[in-house]
């Protein structure tokens, strides 16, 4: 067999040691080696966003990330955003707004939304931000722009933006970042 390289990954709070083929993507390591199928493989080319996970708190496309490059990283999937049996506020909002249909892109959308909320809380601008000096306000246009790397062929876009806007509004009222997105 091919040479393998030992790495350690913490996934959804649990540590794993594993030997990986250096060609193995983080997505395949999660799915095929660790049995965590929450992130999905929609394109394997970084073009659809279904594989989005949080790595050390930031959203990444796990299909474009080699597992060997993430030794010692902390990975959070949509399944690990909240403690067992609980739902993250973003996931709750997705349910309330029917922000999904087939559900295949949904774990990636949820992780991406958690990343978006954190990025905005830290003042990161987007291509549609008019004022680069003030605080970032997540209106619908901002959310849609920032979520555009996550395709949804069922096209639940309107409801996804509503779900994220609700959580963004709650976060803004609390004056804090959302739970699970601290870095």
């Amino acid at each position: 067999m091919t040479t393998t390289i030992p790495i350690g990954l913490t996934v959804d709070g649990r540590h794993h040691d594993l030997d990986v083929d250096p060609r193995t993507t983080l997505l395949d390591a999660l799915r095929e080696r660790l049995g965590n199928t929450s992130p999905k493989k929609g394109c394997d080319h970084g073009q659809c966003g279904a594989c989005t996970v949080l790595v050390d708190g930031r959203r990444v496309l796990s299909c474009l990330t080699l597992a060997v490059a993430k030794d010692a990283a902390e990975v959070t999937t949509a399944d690990g955003l909240a403690p067992d049996g609980a739902l993250h506020p973003v996931a709750e909002a997705f349910l309330a707004h029917d922000a999904y249909q087939c559900g295949f892109c949904t774990p990636g959308q949820v992780c991406s939304a958690v990343g978006v909320l954190d990025e905005a809380a830290h003042g990161a601008p987007s291509a549609v931000t008019d004022d680069l000096t003030g605080p970032t306000v997540l209106d619908r246009a901002e959310i849609a722009e920032r979520m555009s790397g996550n395709l949804c062929r069922c096209a639940a876009y309107t409801n996804i933006v509503s779900a994220v806007a609700e959580v963004a509004g709650d976060a803004a009222r609390r004056g804090s970042t959302v739970e699970g997105a601290d870095r």
Binding site: T2, K41, H45, D98, C102, G103, R153, V161
Partner: protein, 686 residues
């Protein structure tokens, strides 16, 4: 027919599998846990037509971790079902670019892929035709259409009526090849045990998948098990089995006792699972000076595959839309050396409504008449071709309600009337229809156990919400709350269910469950004993053939076109539908909006570009084949007219999965004309 009292139907019950989907724990085909599965990577043809003259697998076999290589020389034999697409590795002919010519089985996906790249295929190339040209010498009338409607229809003398009409519009509209592109690639997990095979399959219909696999391998029905617990979208691409599944099941046949797991690559999705064919549509409308249609002709040429004819039913929607004494529809096909086209969301109606509804807009302009008024003046009293009455038809109500909601009365009648900050703004309208279909052939079983009703039917949830809506229907049919209903779907271990396609699922499965519930209550009353059980097959609709049954809708679009670049944005879309009883408003709205976004995507982005030299789709991934993204979608509204239709089925519902796309691209094109004064008759518009 019993019409059910709606207590839970009509309420916005949340999707029953919601928590599993938002956490990613819902298991799709490739997510199923299997012990030490083998992985498969295909070798695909790099020419569109020819013959394999040699396959050198030596280097591939030498890669550590390779378990086996399948070629046409040694792959297990399959029965010939008369479907060339399914004759995977059974011969040496190449019929289309991307056809499977070999495959590598290995312990890991990385090794399988590496070794597949080392297989050397020698091919004797033959002349191929992959460019669609309506003037091709191979053009011929369609023998059949995919919706089983007659390929041609005609009444009286439309050509003479067109020549004599006061006002005539003659125009040609084109739509390109499009690919379904569900987010979940087709995936199969297959494991053989002797002459018994178990599949997890990403399929819109487990029964059809089982039937095909059983027939191909010469097995009995009971020796093939198929489960599709969750399906990541299908849109028609997963309605029937394609070559990729056959390849995986073939490969698994060579390693009995071991599972083989494979999801198609995104590129394979542009080569092996079908597409919406290209169309050229010649429309002619003749009207009196006051806007009464005298003649409608809709003559279509569409692409198909040389190996298997698929007749896109492009103009059959036109047969139902507007009154006119003289009329004709026709469908010709041009065969190409490509993989066979297949059903794609609103096959026929989606491309066909672009032609008809743009032509209606052009006629309104020629007449100096409001486009809504033109449609109202040509509203038929009975089906314009068959002459049968409509069960319900509320197209005019949709147009009127939409006009009010959209602010249509403020619209300037002339085009090129509004330039704001460098963007031309305009609005457009189009009408829509989609037939209300019920497929026969499902069976439902209802069993009372531990105080709850178990409802079993081999239906499929592809995101439309079948699990949830069938729970609502069962609750009302049995007269109990939803928490006493347990619906089981998506498995051949359950009674047979028909395919999730043709916007037929809820009507077909719901009618069956309603019938089974009637029998259950007749037999056991409302206080059944433990283990009480009843079943029923899909009942016939006594009104079938007596009435024309379809959903109707009106699409409204606001478009902004950049004065310098021509970039088109769609700041506002409104769809108003009349589709019988809406069983779950929240889920219905999601489906309508999803369909409308498909129409937007079709209008602005979607086009599979075929390189005629090599026969492949050049933009064969999601970076090149654009589908609408978050940023494309602005203000979108879907709503509906309350419609009481006691003829369609016991729920009073019409299918809603496809009508959202119908007419939407035309509304956007018509709005773009209104914005700029420039008429584009080709999709996509930019």
């Amino acid at each position: 027919m019993t019409v059910l009292d709606a207590r839970v139907m009509g309420t916005s019950v949340r999707r029953v599998e919601g928590p599993d989907k938002v956490t990613g724990t819902a298991r799709y085909a490739a997510d199923q846990p299997v012990d030490a599965p083998l992985h498969l990577h295909p070798v695909q043809a790099t020419v569109a037509r020819g013959r394999i003259t040699g396959l050198d697998t030596g280097a591939a076999r030498a890669v550590p971790g390779v378990v086996g290589i399948l070629t046409p020389d040694d792959a297990p034999r399959l029965a010939d079902l008369g479907d060339p697409e399914l004759r995977v590795l059974q011969h040496h002919e190449i019929h289309h670019r991307g056809q499977y010519v070999a495959a590598v089985l290995a312990e890991t996906p990385e090794v399988a892929r590496e070794a597949a790249g080392l297989v050397v295929v020698t091919v004797a190339e033959e002349p191929q035709v992959t460019a669609f040209d309506e003037h091709s010498p191979a053009r011929h009338p369609a023998a059949t259409l995919a919706n089983y409607a007659p390929p041609t229809s005609g009444i009286v003398d439309p050509d003479a009526a067109l020549d004599a009409a006061a006002v005539t519009v003659r125009a040609t509209y084109t739509t390109p090849v499009q690919h379904h592109s569900p987010m979940e690639p087709h995936a199969t997990v297959a494991a053989w045990d002797g002459d018994h095979v178990v599949l997890y399959e990403s399929s819109q219909g487990v029964a059809g998948a089982r039937d095909t696999v059983a027939a191909l391998f010469g097995l009995g029905e009971d020796d093939v098990e198929v489960a599709s617990p969750h399906v990541g979208g299908g849109f028609g691409a997963k309605g029937s089995l394609h070559a990729g599944t056959v390849l995986t099941v073939l490969a698994a046949r060579t390693v009995p006792g071991r599972a083989v797991k494979r999801a198609l690559s995104r590129r394979e999705m542009f080569e092996t699972v079908g597409h919406r064919p290209a169309t050229v549509q010649h429309l002619a409308l003749g009207a009196t000076a006051d806007g009464r249609l005298e003649a409608i002709t809709h003559d279509v040429v569409a692409s198909t595959a040389r190996i298997e004819e698929f007749g896109e039913p492009t103009a059959t929607g036109t047969r139902a839309m507007y009154a006119a004494p003289h009329r004709r529809t026709s469908h010709d096909l041009v065969p190409l050396d490509v993989d066979p086209p297949t059903y794609m969301r609103a096959p026929g109606e989606a491309p066909g409504s672009f032609g008809l509804e743009c032509a209606m807009d052009e006629l309104a302009v020629a007449l100096g008449l409001d486009p809504i008024e033109l449609r109202v003046r040509n509203e038929p009293e009975v089906h314009p071709e068959s002459g049968v009455p409509f069960s319900t038809r509320n197209l005019v109500a949709c147009l009127r309600r939409g006009a009010e909601r959209f602010g249509w009365s403020a619209r300037p009648p002339q085009p090129r009337a509004s330039l704001v900050d460098g963007w031309w703004h305009g609005t457009g309208v189009a009408a829509a229809t989609f037939p209300a279909i019920r497929f026969p052939g499902s069976t439902a079983v209802i069993r009372f156990r531990h105080g709850r009703y178990e409802v079993e039917i081999g239906a499929t949830d592809i995101g439309q919400g079948a699990r949830t809506v069938l729970t609502q229907i069962a609750a009302d049919a049995l007269g109990v709350p939803t928490d006493r209903i347990e619906v089981a779907i998506g498995d051949t271990a359950l009674p047979r269910g028909t395919v999730a396609g043709g916007s037929s699922g809820t009507a077909s499965w719901g009618s069956t469950i309603s019938e089974a519930a009637d029998r259950f209550r007749d037999k056991w009353g409302d206080d059944p004993e433990e283990g009480a059980e009843a079943d029923a097959a899909t009942p016939d609709n006594p009104w079938a053939g007596e009435l024309s049954m379809a959903a109707y809708g009106a699409q409204f679009a606001e478009v902004a076109v950049h004065a310098d670049t021509g970039e088109i944005r769609v700041p506002r879309l409104l769809g108003v539908y009349a589709a019988g009883r809406i069983l779950n408003p929240t889920l219905a709205r999601s489906q309508f909006l999803g369909g409308m976004v498909w129409g937007l995507s079709m209008a602005l982005h979607e086009r599979s570009v075929v390189d005629p030299r090599f026969g492949h789709v050049v933009n064969h991934d999601l970076a090149g084949y654009h589908i609408a993204a978050h940023a494309d979608v602005r203000e979108m509204t879907a709503e509906w007219i309350d419609e009481d239709d006691p003829y369609v089925n016991p729920m009073g519902s019409k299918g809603i999965g496809e009508i959202g796309i119908v007419g939407t691209a035309a509304a956007i094109a018509n709005a773009a004309y209104h914005a700029t004064g420039v008429r584009r008759r080709e999709l996509p518009l930019m």
